[in-house]
Each structure stands twice: as structure tokens, then as C-alpha cells.
């Protein structure tokens, strides 16, 4: 359903992505792991053209674009099929929680105000923030803001939700509430691609894990393949540092 072929991206002379191929099927929950600077966030941002790749093709549902020839209009059409949850939430500061969610429903999907509000309220209930509907983002905690960000993405009923390190900017005690919400919506069968540093979360939630390093996909497989039986030395090295081994427990 999502097909990335030969995605290449450089910032100046630095090659960040060196020809990535990735296929994501409907209902997949794919976690992308890797050290900082491995290109995982850039890859995610290339999917909805927030970063314009230099080379390659991107296909989401029935829209296939060559990055070099894609027009602004085609890019907007592709973006309508996707939604994103950002590290820094990026809520619209001048709009209430409810308006943040209805914005895309009314302006992009041309739904009536009544219908948009109804959907928004359902989504807010899903992230347990129905009582904050009329608050402005500045009055919410980081965890609450991120849950609104998730509700905003979810409301659009996209083909895929892209999560860009959704818990990295949060205070440690707020990480749990956001991960719980993602875990909950994951059960609804929505396709998700998640860039994260939360290893246990990735292992629990995903049906596929992609390990990236140095702008290439080093290894991919099921969580148990990657976490319990990694093939490449680079993956082993990375996981050893991040996932505590049983031997430490004694």
C-alpha cells in the first residue's frame, strides 16, 4: 500500500538517505529504529514531502509520485492520504483543541461543521481529552498536547499515520500516557509508521521493525527476529546498548 523505492536525500554534501526501499502493507505497524543521524526521521518526512527527496518514487495508496517531477498539487493530494504526529506536537496555537481537529476535516475534507465537530469529539474521547475540547494548546501539558496531535491525525482517517519520535520531547512521566494512546489506536488496524527510541514499545506494538544506520536499511523483520535474533553486527551493537540484557537482572 505504501511503496518507497530508491529514496535518496542529501543535505548539501551530506548523504542522509542512500537509496531506501520500503514496503508497508495495509494494517502494518512498522517501527523504524536506529541511532541518531541514521536518517530515520528524514525518511519519514520524505514520505509526505516535508522533506523533498532528491531521487526515488513514493507511492501511497493509488498515488505514485516521482520525487523529481511531482507537482505541488500532486504533493497536496498525497498528503491528504497521510497524517503525521510530530515530536513537538505542532498544534495550531491560535485554535482550540477542537478546532485543531476540525481544521483538516472542514478545510481539506470539506465536511460540514456539524459532522466535523462530531468526529472531533469522538477522537477526543479516544485520547481521553473530551473535557479539554475548548482549551487552547498553551493550557495543556506536553502529554495532553501530543494526544491532541494524535487525535488530529486520527480524525482524518488517513491511509497511514506517520509518527516522528512522538515521545522524545516529553517529560519522562508523561511518556506512558502517550504510548498507551498509540497502543490503543494500533488495535484498530490503522497503518502506522513509527520512528521511535522507545525499544520496549516498538517491540510490543509493531509487527515489523526496520533498523536503519548510515542512511541505509541494515535489517528488517518481525520484532522477535530483530530483538531476539539480530543478524547484523551493527544491529546487535545498537540493541546491546539500549535493551538491558537478562544477565543484568541477577
Amino acid at each position: 500500500m505504501i511503496q518507497l523505492s530508491n529514496i535518496q536525500k542529501s543535505f548539501g554534501k551530506t548523504e542522509v538517505l542512500k537509496g531506501i526501499d520500503l514496503q508497508v502493507n495495509k494494517g502494518d505497524i512498522v517501527s523504524i529504529l536506529g541511532p541518531s543521524g541514521s536518517g530515520k526521521t528524514t525518511l519519514l518526512r520524505c514520505i509526505n514531502f516535508l522533506e523533498k527527496a532528491n531521487e526515488g518514487t513514493i507511492k501511497v495508496d493509488n498515488i505514485a509520485l516521482d520525487v523529481k517531477t511531482a507537482s505541488k498539487k500532486e504533493i497536496t493530494e498525497l498528503r491528504k492520504k497521510t497524517a503525521m504526529v510530530f515530536q513537538n506536537y505542532n498544534l495550531f496555537q491560535h485554535k482550540t483543541v477542537l478546532q485543531n481537529i476540525t481544521e483538516g476535516l472542514m478545510i481539506v475534507q470539506k465536511k460540514s461543521e456539524k459532522e466535523a465537530i462530531e468526529i472531533a469529539k469522538t477522537m477526543l474521547t479516544k485520547v481521553s481529552l473530551e473535557h479539554k475540547a475548548n482549551n487552547y494548546p498553551s493550557a495543556l501539558s506536553g502529554g495532553q498536547q501530543q494526544r491532541v496531535g494524535i487525535a488530529r491525525a486520527l480524525a482524518l482517517n488517513p491511509e497511514v499515520i506517520l509518527f516522528d519520535e512522538p515521545t522524545s520531547a516529553l517529560d519522562p512521566e508523561l511518556v506512558g500516557e502517550v504510548l498507551d494512546v498509540i497502543q490503543k489506536i494500533a488495535k484498530e488496524g490503522i497503518t502506522m509508521i513509527i520512528v521511535t527510541h522507545e525499544m520496549n514499545f516498538a517491540r510490543d506494538i509493531s509487527n515489523r521493525v526496520v533498523f536503519m544506520d548510515g542512511g541505509v536499511v541494515v535489517e528488517e523483520g518481525t520484532p522477535s527476529e530483530i530483538f531476539n535474533n539480530p543478524k547484523s553486527d551493527r544491529t546487535k551493537q545498537f540493541l546491546r546498548r539500549l535493551v538491558p540484557e537478562f544477565t543484568y537482572e541477577i
Binding site: Q93, H94, I107
Partner: protein, 234 residues
């Protein structure tokens, strides 16, 4: 001017002067309104790095900032008919009021565009990315997400510039527009009392400025409604 100071004249001339207040307000409203539109427009070339246009607006803004408004007024009043005359259109008999509007619009636009440019850059780019990610077009992002927030940031400066502009309207009389200032000059000739009339004028301008300041504070508070308190005190 010869005769002794007559305080009663200050009070008496206020209603006479106020009957020309609407001219002052019209000049202000039109030049601020049109100046806002033009100001947003000429902020674009520098914000989005449009070649050639960018250089032109830079020179234009620098020129307006670097020359007195009175000279700009005379330049437009005497210069515009010459320029337009080249195309065979005669505007030498046009009401000087329009020349005032043109001058003050050009002047306000330059000031406003610089204010807007700063304000637009101050809106966090992450929100633009979020707008794109949900499928808004760049234009929709500009007028629904970026501009409303930039306007809040710009508003206090816009308000200050507008108040300066209000005071500058008193120069319109130099090219023959009959506003409060103009009426004041004729009253001085008629009564031979200059100080009293200027005191009346000073009172009127001061009170109007106070009213505008109060109004702008009120609007500012509305625009800031979505900020938390401690963010405001920064």
C-alpha cells in the same frame, strides 16, 4: 498675535474644529486600511525571496523610511500628476484629498510590511509543517494558520505606527486639504489668536490618541486570548 490671551476661545473653537474631525478619521482609516493590504503584499517578495521584486521593495522601504513625510507628500502632490500626465491623463485638478491618501498609504505600507515580515517569521515553522501534513495548501496555510498568529504579534506595532500616522495627518493641510488643522489655520486668521487655537488642536489630537490607545489595548487583549498568562508577561 497682538491681542491678549483668551482662555474662553480654547473651549469655543473645539466644536468648530471637531466638525472637521471626520476628514482626519477618513484619511487615517483609508491610509491604514489600504496600507495594511499593500504592506502584506510588499512583505512577500522579501519573505519568499522573489528576485528583482525583492530589490525593488527594499529600495522603496528604505526610501520611505529615510525621507520626511512632508516631502513625500509634496513629491506625490507635484510628482504624480507629471508621471500620470505621461500617459495622457490629467489629474492636476483632482481633489488634494486623494494625494494625501496615496502618500499616507505608501508610507504606512512601508512601515507595516517591515512589521509583518518580522511577525510572519516569528510563527513557528512546525505549525506550517503540521498544516501541510493534514493537506492544507500553502495559501490556506498562510491565511488560516500563519497570518492570524502573525497578526497578533504585529498588532501592537501596527497600532503604534497608526497612532503616529494619525498625528501625521495634520500635515495634509500643507497641500490644501481642509481637515482640523486647516480649519485651525483659518480660525487663527479670523480671530488673530494662535495660541488658543493650537491649544484646542493639541487637546483634540491628544484625546483622540488616548481613545485609540484604549481601543487598541482592548483589541490586543482579544488577540492574546489563546496565550497563557506567564507567556504574556515575557
Amino acid at each position: 498675535m497682538g491681542s491678549s490671551f483668551e482662555p474662553s476661545l480654547i473651549v469655543e473653537s473645539i466644536p468648530k474644529l471637531l466638525s472637521y474631525l471626520h476628514i482626519t478619521i477618513e484619511i487615517l482609516a483609508l491610509s491604514v486600511g489600504l496600507g495594511l493590504l499593500l504592506g502584506i503584499l510588499i512583505a512577500m517578495p522579501r519573505l519568499y525571496h522573489i528576485p528583482i521584486l525583492k530589490e525593488i521593495v527594499t529600495v522603496y522601504i528604505s526610501f520611505i523610511r529615510g525621507t520626511p513625510i512632508l516631502i513625500q507628500l509634496f513629491l506625490v502632490f507635484y510628482g504624480l500628476p507629471v508621471v500620470v500626465g505621461l500617459f495622457g491623463i490629467d489629474i492636476t485638478r483632482m481633489d488634494p484629498f486623494y494625494f494625501v491618501i496615496v502618500t499616507y498609504t505608501l508610507s504606512n505600507a512601508a512601515a507595516f510590511s517591515e512589521i509583518f515580515r518580522g511577525a510572519i517569521t516569528s510563527v513557528d515553522y512546525g505549525q506550517t509543517e503540521a498544516a501541510y501534513s493534514i493537506g492544507l495548501t500553502p495559501l490556506q496555510n498562510f491565511y488560516r494558520i500563519v497570518f492570524p498568529q502573525a497578526f497578533r504579534v504585529a498588532f501592537p506595532n501596527i497600532a503604534n505606527a497608526s497612532i503616529s500616522s494619525l498625528k501625521d495627518t495634520s500635515l495634509a493641510f500643507s497641500i490644501g486639504v481642509m481637515d482640523m488643522m486647516g480649519r485651525g489655520e483659518t480660525l487663527i486668521s479670523a480671530t488673530m489668536h494662535a495660541v488658543e487655537i493650537y491649544i484646542s488642536l493639541a487637546i483634540i489630537y491628544y484625546v483622540i490618541v488616548l481613545i485609540f490607545e484604549r481601543l487598541f489595548k482592548w483589541i490586543e487583549r482579544y488577540l492574546n486570548r489563546y496565550l497563557v498568562k506567564d507567556e504574556l508577561s515575557l
